[in-house]
C-alpha cells in the first residue's frame, strides 16, 4: 500500500517538472510569435512596478535604518564608526537590498499573479480566451513575466537608494555626518563589481517571480480553494527560487569579480 502511494508522488513530481519546462518553452515561443501585447505589458508594469513602490520603499527604508543601528555598536567597538556608510552600502547593494526586495515582491506580486490567473481559471476566463481563438499565454503570461523581469530590477535600484537614505537618517540619530560626506563615502565604496552582478541577479529574480506566479495560477485546479493554494504556492516557490538564484549568483560573482 505504502509502495502504491510513493509511485504516484514521484510521478506527479516528475510531471510537474515536465510541465514547468514545457511552460518555460511555451513562454519563449510566445514572445516571438504573434503580436506583442504592448498595452497589457505597460498596464502590468504599472500594476507590478508602481503599485509595489510604496511597500518596497518603506521596507527598504526600515532595513537601512535597522542595519545602521545593528552595525554601529560592533563597528564603534573596533573604532571603525567611520566605516558605517561603506559597510551599509556594500552589504545593501550587493546582497541585502536585492534579496529583501525580491522577497517582498515575491510576497506581493507572485501571490497576486497566482491568485489572479487561478481565479480566471476557476471562473472559466482562461478557457473562454482559448476557445475564442485568442492565446491566453500571449496576453496573460508573456506580459506578466516580462513586466516582472523589467520592474523588479527597477524596484531594487529604487529600494537601494531609499535604504541608503534610511541609513543616513539612522546614522544621524547618534552621530553627526553631513549628507555630502555620507553619500560621498557611499558612492566611493560601491564599485562596478558590486552593482552590476547585483543588478543582473534581480533580473533573474524578477523572471522567477513572474514565471512561478503565472505557472501556479495557470495550472491551478478548478476550485475556489485552489486560488488560495496557487497564491500560497507561488509565494513559497518564488521565495525558494530567489535564494537558489542568489546562491548561484554569489558563486558566479565570486569567481568572476572577487578572485
Amino acid at each position: 500500500m505504502a509502495e502504491e502511494m510513493v509511485i504516484p508522488a514521484w510521478k506527479r513530481w516528475l510531471e510537474g517538472i515536465g510541465d514547468q519546462v514545457e511552460f518555460f518553452f511555451k513562454f519563449f515561443r510566445n514572445i516571438f510569435t504573434g503580436g506583442f501585447e504592448w498595452s497589457e505589458f505597460v498596464r502590468q508594469c504599472y500594476e507590478i512596478g508602481y503599485r509595489s513602490m510604496m511597500l518596497v520603499g518603506i521596507t527598504s527604508f526600515i532595513m537601512g535604518v535597522v542595519l545602521i543601528l545593528q552595525l554601529r555598536p560592533t563597528l564603534v567597538s573596533f573604532g571603525a564608526a567611520s566605516m558605517l556608510p561603506k559597510t551599509l552600502a556594500v552589504s545593501f547593494v550587493r546582497e541585502i537590498g536585492p534579496v529583501i526586495i525580491a522577497i517582498i515582491c515575491a510576497g506581493k506580486i507572485a501571490s497576486s499573479i497566482g491568485a489572479e490567473l487561478g481565479s480566471m481559471k476557476v471562473t472559466e476566463q482562461l478557457d473562454a480566451m482559448e476557445v475564442s481563438g485568442a492565446n491566453p499565454l500571449q496576453y496573460l503570461v508573456v506580459t506578466r513575466i516580462l513586466a516582472t523581469t523589467v520592474m523588479v530590477p527597477i524596484l531594487s535600484v529604487i529600494g537601494d537608494i531609499i535604504g541608503l537614505f534610511g541609513g543616513f537618517l539612522a546614522l544621524n540619530l547618534r552621530d553627526k555626518m553631513s549628507y555630502n560626506l555620507y553619500f560621498t563615502k557611499v558612492v566611493a565604496s560601491i564599485d562596478f563589481s558590486d552593482f552590476l552582478p547585483a543588478f543582473i541577479k534581480t533580473i533573474f529574480f524578477g523572471f522567477a517571480i513572474g514565471f512561478v506566479g503565472c505557472y501556479k495560477g495557470f495550472h491551478s485546479n478548478k476550485g475556489t480553494e485552489s486560488v488560495g493554494l496557487a497564491a500560497n504556492s507561488a509565494v513559497v516557490t518564488a521565495s525558494l527560487w530567489i535564494f537558489v538564484i542568489d546562491a548561484i549568483a554569489v558563486q558566479v560573482t565570486s569567481l568572476l569579480f572577487y578572485k
Binding site: 480566471m120 471562473t123 476566463q125 478557457d127 480566451m129 475564442s132 485568442a134
Partner: protein
C-alpha cells in the same frame, strides 16, 4: 493542395438552412482516469438547428461540447466539425475553427478586469484583427443591442447581475458572427423570468444570425422554447432523441423524470 483548400472553403460556406451536417460525432469516448465519462456518443447536428442536450449532472454533457471546441481531446471515436476531424487539427487549424464556434460558459466567463466594451473588443482586435475603431464600435454596439445591454457598455462585469452577465457573455460570443454556438447551461442560477428571457434570446439569435446551436441545460422551459431537437444523455451515452413534444410522451424512466413536471 489549392483544390483541397477551395473545396474546404466551399463546404464551409454552403447556403444556410440546408440539411448539411455541421457537427458529426461517432462513437466518441472520453475517460478521466478510471471514470468513463463518455462511453459511446453519436450525434449529428444540421446547419441552423438548435439541439438541446438534457441530462443529470456528471453525465458528460459539458465534456461533449468541450471536445467539440477542442478544449478536451477524446480518447477514441470521430468528431467532425465542418467536415474536419477536430482531433487531427493543428494548433493553427484549431484556432481557425474556434473563430467559427462561439462558446457561452455557464458563468458567462467575462474578463473581469475589462469593461463590457473591452470584453467585446477583445475577440475583434485579437482574433479577427480588425483595426478600424469605427468598425469595432459598430460591431460591439450591434451585439450589445441584440442582447439589450447597450446601456451597460462601459460597466465592469462586477457591476452586472447574473442575467446581465450571461447576456454580456452572449454578446461577446455573437460579436464575431460564429456559425455554431455552444451554450453550457445558459439559464443555470437565474430566476424563471430571466431564464425565459435568455431562452428567448437564444432563439432570436438563431433566427437573426442563422446559427447552429448545441444547448446544454437542465431547464425544461429553456429546452421547450429553444430546441428543434432534444437529446437525453445518461451515464455517458445518449438514451433518447426527438422533438420536445415527442420525448414528453416517452416511457423511458429517465426521460420521463425530466418531463414529469411539464404539463
Amino acid at each position: 493542395m489549392m483544390e483541397k483548400a477551395k473545396e474546404k472553403s466551399e463546404q464551409n460556406h454552403k447556403p444556410k438552412g440546408t440539411d448539411e451536417h455541421v457537427i458529426v460525432i461517432k462513437g466518441l469516448k472520453k475517460s478521466f482516469g478510471e471514470k468513463h465519462v463518455l462511453k459511446d456518443i453519436n450525434l449529428e447536428v444540421k446547419r441552423s438547428e438548435n439541439v438541446v442536450i438534457l441530462g443529470r449532472s456528471g453525465t458528460g454533457k459539458s465534456v461533449t461540447i468541450q471536445c467539440i471546441v477542442g478544449l478536451l481531446k477524446p480518447d477514441s471515436g470521430s468528431l467532425k466539425v465542418f467536415g474536419d476531424e477536430v482531433a487531427d487539427m493543428s494548433e493553427k487549424e484549431l484556432k481557425q475553427l474556434r473563430i467559427k464556434i462561439g462558446f457561452l460558459f455557464q458563468s458567462g466567463a467575462l474578463y473581469d478586469s475589462m469593461t463590457i466594451r473591452e470584453n467585446l473588443e477583445f475577440p475583434l482586435t485579437r482574433i479577427l484583427k480588425i483595426k478600424e475603431q469605427a468598425e469595432i464600435d459598430k460591431r460591439v454596439e450591434a451585439a450589445l443591442d441584440s442582447v439589450g445591454l447597450l446601456d451597460s457598455i462601459d460597466k465592469l462585469p462586477s457591476d452586472l447581475s447574473g442575467g446581465m452577465r450571461k447576456r454580456a457573455g452572449l454578446a461577446r460570443t455573437i460579436v464575431v458572427n460564429p456559425e455554431i454556438i455552444l451554450y453550457d447551461e445558459p439559464t443555470t442560477g437565474l430566476d424563471p423570468i430571466t431564464s425565459r428571457e435568455i431562452s428567448e434570446l437564444i432563439l432570436s439569435i438563431q433566427k437573426k444570425y442563422n446559427t447552429t446551436s448545441i444547448i446544454i441545460t437542465h431547464d425544461m422551459e429553456c429546452a421547450r422554447l429553444a430546441s428543434d431537437r432534444v437529446v437525453v444523455m445518461d451515464d455517458g451515452e445518449y438514451i433518447a432523441e426527438g422533438t420536445f413534444d415527442s420525448l414528453h410522451k416517452s416511457k423511458n424512466k429517465i426521460v420521463a423524470a425530466f418531463f414529469k413536471d411539464i404539463l
